[in-house]
């Protein structure tokens, strides 16, 4: 049974190499951005795709998360340009980068509310303030985990020793 499971997992790991999927995400672009698209190279093929907020990829429709999904043969890296159409410029280059990629990777950018917008790579498609709060929440959750475990151990240890005390009192009472 465990050998079959291992074989199935190994075959699925091998099958992942047949086609690579990479999602490009921009979270909550500022209002001056009219549209977004990425263009670049996937191996020897050029690509140009528009990002949309219509639920492509993993994001639901209309949530302010703009996405597009790139697919192609296995590649280690892709080079891409993130380009915006703004009120002041029909084609504003926001970021130009080459990124190491793995299957189902997300390349996420955050855009500043400046003119022109500045793009930075981020881990989550959230506005900068939300991302800071998310990081803080992770830290707090970690401390909460410590507190939970410490509390359980204290309860366990106290419970262990509380059981032994009544026996001693009973011995004392007999004398």
């Amino acid at each position: 049974m465990s050998a079959s499971l291992l074989l199935a997992l190994a075959l699925s790991a091998a099958a992942e190499d047949a086609q690579l999927t990479v999602e490009v995400v921009v979270g909550s672009p500022p209002p001056q951005v009219g549209s977004l698209y990425v263009k670049g190279n996937w191996l020897d093929k050029e690509f140009a795709q528009a990002l949309t907020d219509d639920g492509d990829g993993s994001a639901p429709t209309g949530d302010g998360i703009w996405t597009t999904t790139l697919r192609g043969p296995p590649t280690r890296m892709i080079s891409l340009d993130l380009i915006a159409t703004t009120q002041s410029a029909p084609s504003q280059l926001l970021a130009s980068t080459t990124e190491p990629v793995g299957d189902r990777d997300r390349i996420t950018f955050a855009l500043s509310n400046t003119s022109p917008p500045q793009a930075t790579r981020v881990a989550l498609a959230r506005p900068a303030r939300q991302l800071e709060r998310f990081e803080t929440a992770t830290t707090v959750a970690g401390l909460g985990w410590f507190a939970l475990v410490f509390g359980y151990v204290v309860w366990l240890v106290d419970g262990r020793f509380q059981r032994s005390e009544p026996r001693r009192r009973r011995r004392g009472d007999r004398t």
Binding site: F134, W145, V149, R160
Partner: protein, 567 residues
């Protein structure tokens, strides 16, 4: 297997960062490094060759030499799985030496081998840090050697395991120093009254002396930068806030902005260690000094400046001295000292858990299960793992002789871009087996010939001097140039592809192996020319001065360095 998934399949290179391909290359080159001159490699650093006197792990050399036939990527993956399993077993053994009982001793294995630091090594791509049963074995033997009634053989075994720890990687050797001092302190104090306590310690010292001397000599002769170069090589000493954050569970940005650096501490082991005085009471097994040693190591990790002063109390030794380099290296990653904390607190925690289980076995089982949360959920493994394909572009097989890889300089905002290009080029070499110009282990302060030659080639192609570039590269013995075309920006890519045929040789393009590369044959002379290292280094220095290696955009590469003539 689950924690290191998908390493057991042997089908991928693993890691978020370029260290994985570089480690795979080292395993593949190990046989060559041992069979030629000591750690000399004529297949890298072409045309001058390379000497890798400061490998991070000497122990990988015999492993790679013996098992390299498995294939570098597969060997690295299986070594990872085996290493983690051995480390769990060894940490459990240490916990049982301290008084823990199975199955509760498993907690020590989880804490040590599936820790935040271990996850960092796995996700960064240097999993040989995880092939570490030696440190727990050293702690076990050293605990025995420093107890009353210890025999000299206990000291000898402790010395053997310490040497193997050091040869695995100097980082683990440094992390073992608190264990060596903390465990020995009672024995050293008791030695004033009973000289018998000293014999096992002396036996250990003698066992370590000769290999330690060899290590120091190899290190000093190995070349590479001194303390100042390390201090400016990236990863500056973290402040207390950053260090504390590293000891907490990693946040979502850690792989993108934190270079995967995490030293998350295990909550279960910490809590159990705090409860140890109440639960364990007396110290017949030595758990107090083990716990204090672990806490002391954590304190030093939190205050690296204090640790550095402790290592160098008399002031600043020579900048290139071994101790100076060790201190500079430690200051970049002080949290690695907490390997000792994990080992010690994991063992003490396992002893406490064993005692608690005598009366409350179900509650102890809950704690052991929570230990699995510390091991899997906190570092988010194996979900955070990233895979890379192992095959290489087939265009490398189109020509023979040494190959010059041409990558875009400053091609990415991704951290460590130069390390990506170096380590991928070296990993490709492990498969195509042709000499390359890259230095595959670059110590801070060293310059790679590939960088200088790459920029020379690009500058030449962009200024329509292809035939001159080709003649120069032929005179250096290169058999082909491989342009990593898919990674250049569009305008440079177009220009370079137009200019590539002017190098004169047959072209071969491929898009397999994870990249689009275009290789050009150069038809080098049959006997490669011999070059004096001195001339080669002077030319490299001149190219550096011409800003060929500084962070300048491609179009502004100044100078067109002409390599020294062959005499």
């Amino acid at each position: 297997m689950l924690w290191t998934w998908p390493a057991i399949t042997g089908l991928h290179l693993l890691g978020h960062h370029p260290d994985g391909p570089g480690t795979a290359w080292f395993l593949s080159a190990s046989g060559r490094l041992l069979s030629g001159g000591w750690l000399d490699d004529p297949f890298t650093g072409w045309p001058a060759g390379a000497h890798y006197g400061r490998p991070d792990s000497f122990l990988q050399l015999p492993i790679g030499a013996l098992l390299g036939w498995l294939g570098a990527a597969r060997l690295l993956s299986w070594l990872t799985v085996a290493g983690v399993a051995l480390s769990i077993w060894a940490a459990e053994r240490f916990a049982r030496e301290l008084g823990a009982r199975a199955p509760w001793s498993l907690l020590a294995g989880l804490v040590f081998a599936l820790s935040g630091l271990a996850s960092t090594a796995l996700l960064e791509g240097y999993p040989y840090h995880l092939v570490n049963p030696w440190m727990p074995l050293f702690a076990t033997a050293w605990l025995r050697a420093t107890r009353v009634g210890a025999r000299p053989q206990d000291g000898v075994w402790a010395g053997v395991w310490f040497v193997l720890t050091l040869l695995t990687t100097a980082w683990l050797g440094i992390a073992s120093i608190p264990i060596a001092l903390g465990f020995a302190a009672p024995a050293l104090m008791a030695a004033r009254h009973s000289i018998d306590r000293l014999w096992p310690l002396l036996a250990a010292a003698l066992t370590v002396a000769l290999p330690g001397l060899f290590y120091a000599m190899a290190f000093s002769a190995g070349g590479g930068g001194g303390a100042d170069d390390l201090a400016t090589a990236g990863f500056p000493t973290p402040d207390l806030g950053l260090t504390l954050r590293r000891f907490l569970p990693p946040g979502p940005s850690i792989d993108l902005h934190g270079y995967t650096q995490s030293a998350a501490l295990p909550a279960v082991a910490l809590a159990l260690t705090v409860a140890a005085p109440r639960v364990l009471g007396g110290d017949s097994t030595g758990w107090r000094r083990v716990a204090l040693t672990g806490a002391g190591a954590l304190g030093l990790a939190l205050a690296p400046v204090l640790a550095a002063r402790a290592l160098s109390p008399s002031g600043t030794p020579s900048q290139d001295g071994l101790s100076s380099v060790i201190i500079a290296a430690f200051m970049r990653f002080p949290d690695r000292l907490s390997w000792a904390t994990l080992l010690c607190l994991g063992a003490v925690g396992a002893v406490v858990l064993s005692r608690l289980a005598e009366r409350r076995p179900r509650a102890a089982a809950v704690l052991l299960a929570l230990g699995l949360v510390d091991a899997f959920v906190v570092p988010r493994l194996p979900w955070r793992q990233r895979t890379m394909q192992t095959d290489v572009p087939s265009a490398y097989a189109a020509h023979s002789g040494p190959v010059l890889d041409v990558w875009p300089q400053n091609g990415s905002q991704a951290p460590a871009w130069d390390l990506w290009t170096t380590n991928l080029g070296c990993y490709y070499q492990s498969v195509h087996q042709r000499p390359v110009a890259d230095l595959c282990l670059v110590s801070p302060g060293q310059v790679s010939p590939r960088m200088a030659l790459q920029n020379y080639t690009v500058a030449g192609l962009l200024t329509d001097q292809g035939p001159t570039v080709a003649e120069t590269l032929r005179s250096l013995g290169f058999g082909s140039v491989v342009l990593h075309a898919g990674l250049f920006q569009a305008t440079d890519q177009a220009h370079l592809l137009r200019a590539l045929p002017t190098l004169g040789g047959p072209l071969e393009s491929s898009t397999d192996g994870g990249e689009w590369v275009v290789a050009v044959g150069l038809d080098p002379p049959t006997t490669p020319p011999q070059h004096a290292d001195l001339h080669w280094q002077e030319w490299l220095n001149a190219c550096i001065k011409d800003a060929a290696l500084k962070n300048e955009p491609l179009r502004q590469v100044g100078g067109f360095c002409a390599p020294p003539r062959v005499e």
